[in-house]
């Protein structure tokens, strides 16, 4: 091996650096003081635990329910969900509902099978998201066996599916509901229902 003065200087500088570095460690110098000395600043950070959440719109005002006609498509509000579990599990955002109910008997409730949902086809992803989310079919009508009207939920419909790489926050703001009101529906009555949003992942 050829030993040159240049290599000697580099080795010397390295030795000095190691000495200073180890002294700093031994003396317990803080990163801040290291920074003021013009050296490298050590940056540390920690991440919170991942989370799975769905934030459903808190209000929904249906237009007047006119027998023998369908309501206009009504905005369901902005639906946001987050999956940062990073667990290689695909996720689903689904919706189910109960009848619009006042009382038992013909005309006293509007079955959920008369609810049609228009699904926002362009979920908006957060800028740092990863993976792919695909919207459910554009138009879906609820189905299911309505064993106890007013209480039984419909079968779930898919609003969006995330693949196993999906991590982040997404929003669907253009989901809508249309209700077909049977002709025999009793007049001057207030009907209520439950709209249920679920994220599974």
């Amino acid at each position: 091996m050829l030993f040159t003065p240049h290599r000697s200087r580099r080795t010397g500088r390295l030795a000095v650096a190691i000495t200073i570095g180890s002294s700093a460690l031994l003396l317990g110098l803080s990163p801040a003081s290291a920074a003021t000395a013009g050296s490298t600043q050590l940056i540390t950070g920690s991440t919170p635990a991942g989370i799975l959440s769905v934030t459903a719109p808190g209000t929904l005002a249906l237009p007047s329910l006119v027998p023998a006609s369908s309501t206009a498509a009504t905005d369901l509000g902005s639906l946001t969900w987050t999956d940062t579990l990073n667990n290689a599990t695909a996720s689903s955002v689904t919706l189910a509902a109960t009848d619009l109910y006042f009382a038992a008997g013909i005309g006293s409730y509007i079955p959920f099978t008369h609810f049609t949902f228009t699904v926002d086809q362009a979920p908006v992803a957060g800028p740092l998201n990863s993976g792919t989310v695909t919207a459910g079919a554009a138009s879906q009508t609820l189905t299911g066996a309505d064993t106890t009207p007013g209480t039984t939920y419909s079968s779930p419909i898919t609003l969006a599916n995330g693949n196993t790489l999906a991590d982040g926050t997404w929003t669907q703001a253009a989901n809508k509901i249309t209700v077909g009101v049977p002709a025999a529906t009793i007049l001057s009555t207030v009907f209520s229902s439950t709209i249920q949003y679920t994220i599974t992942g």
């Binding site: 228009t118 908006v124 554009a138 898919t158 994220i199 599974t200």
Partner: protein, 345 residues
């Protein structure tokens, strides 16, 4: 023929024309109306109401994250879910174990709390099923899982669910939100990843073919899939390949999913085209089998599409005929009116 008589066919013609214009998007399929309805969504809101995570997230080496349990019959395990309330007010929660159901459109969802559970949901128990969590607080929700004797080997799916009413409409309707963490229980035994395709079907809708096929999980493992439809001409050359959607989703054991694909690039010029679906099924992300459908002869496109074109052209010809008739009547009416004026003066 007087002017009123001329105006009536004109009015009819205008109405027919307008009806044709209104009917065209309906006749030519949903994509035109979909495009009109599609509005961009606003930027995601960072606001969250509540969220859940496995208690031991990041602290275990279980595959695929939590909750993945490899258990034998009669085995018992305890684990927990952490529920965080991010809001400025307290929230009343219900917690329960649930079976997993296939949702229409390719997703999965937990069964309702009031349903009778038959699988993993029935194996789970939550000691404190109802709790109220204060603003910006979190609680740990423990649960136990006991595998009954005699269960078949393979993977079984369930979920631990946190449910809360998060809003009420002016008319008393309730908005409910649920978050569900999947619970995958693997029982030892012979793993049998298998699936079955239903018959490939096609619906010619105006200028496109919509294909549909069902995939049934006939094995005992949780499946994912990748599938496509290949269209070939009479010489056997591939002329189109379309992915089956939904492209990501689980098919639980005994679960069924409807997969679809649309071919709308060009109308085939004859009925000599065939289509076939190929679906690769995966277990734990690894391919375990390739399923193929029957070879489907595509129907001639002329039936629906050409009929629509003929009707549209017929309407147009009728409209032009009426316009010509109106112009001709007007020309004839002018000299007779002059004559009438002359008489009265």
């Amino acid at each position: 023929m007087n002017q009123r008589a001329v105006r009536r066919p004109l009015g009819v013609a205008v109405r027919v024309g307008l009806m044709a214009v209104v009917a065209l998007p309906i006749v030519f399929g949903p994509d035109m109306t979909t495009a009109l309805a599609a509005t961009p969504s606003p930027a995601p809101s960072p606001a969250q109401l509540f969220g859940v995570r496995p208690e031991k997230q990041g602290q275990t080496t279980l595959p695929g994250g939590h909750f993945n349990f490899a258990l034998a019959a009669d085995d018992h395990i305890t684990d927990a879910m952490v529920v965080e309330n991010f809001s400025d007010h307290s929230i009343a929660f219900s917690f329960y174990g649930a079976d997993i159901l296939s949702a229409s459109g390719g997703g999965v969802a937990p069964a309702q709390a009031t349903n009778v559970m038959h699988g993993v949901g029935a194996w789970m128990a939550v000691p404190n099923p109802k709790r109220t969590i204060g603003a910006h607080q979190e609680v740990t929700v423990p649960f136990t899982l006991t595998v009954p004797a005699g269960e078949r080997p393979g993977q079984h799916l369930g979920a631990i669910v946190a449910s809360a009413d998060v809003g009420t409409t002016p008319t008393g309707s309730v908005i409910e939100a649920r978050t569900a963490l999947l619970v995958v229980v693997t029982l030892p035994g012979v793993a049998s990843p298998s699936g079955r395709l239903g018959p490939l079907r096609v619906s010619p809708v105006a200028h496109q073919f919509v294909f549909g096929i069902t995939l049934t999980n006939t094995g005992n493992l949780l499946l994912t899939y990748v599938g496509s439809i290949t269209v070939r001409d009479a010489a056997g050359r591939s002329v189109a390949r379309r992915s089956l959607v939904p492209s990501s989703g689980y098919v639980v054991p005994a679960g069924v999913i409807l997969l679809t694909a649309t071919w709308d690039d060009a109308l085939p010029q004859s009925s000599a085209y065939t289509a076939r679906a190929t679906v690769t099924i995966l277990a734990d992300g690894e391919p375990v089998g390739v399923l193929t459908s029957q070879i489907l002869q595509l129907p001639a496109p002329s039936d629906a599409a050409i009929l629509i074109v003929i009707v549209a052209l017929g309407c147009l010809a009728f409209l032009l005929l009426l316009l010509a008739l109106a112009r001709w009547s007007r020309r004839r009416a002018i000299p007779s009116r002059r004559l009438a004026v002359g008489r009265f003066s």
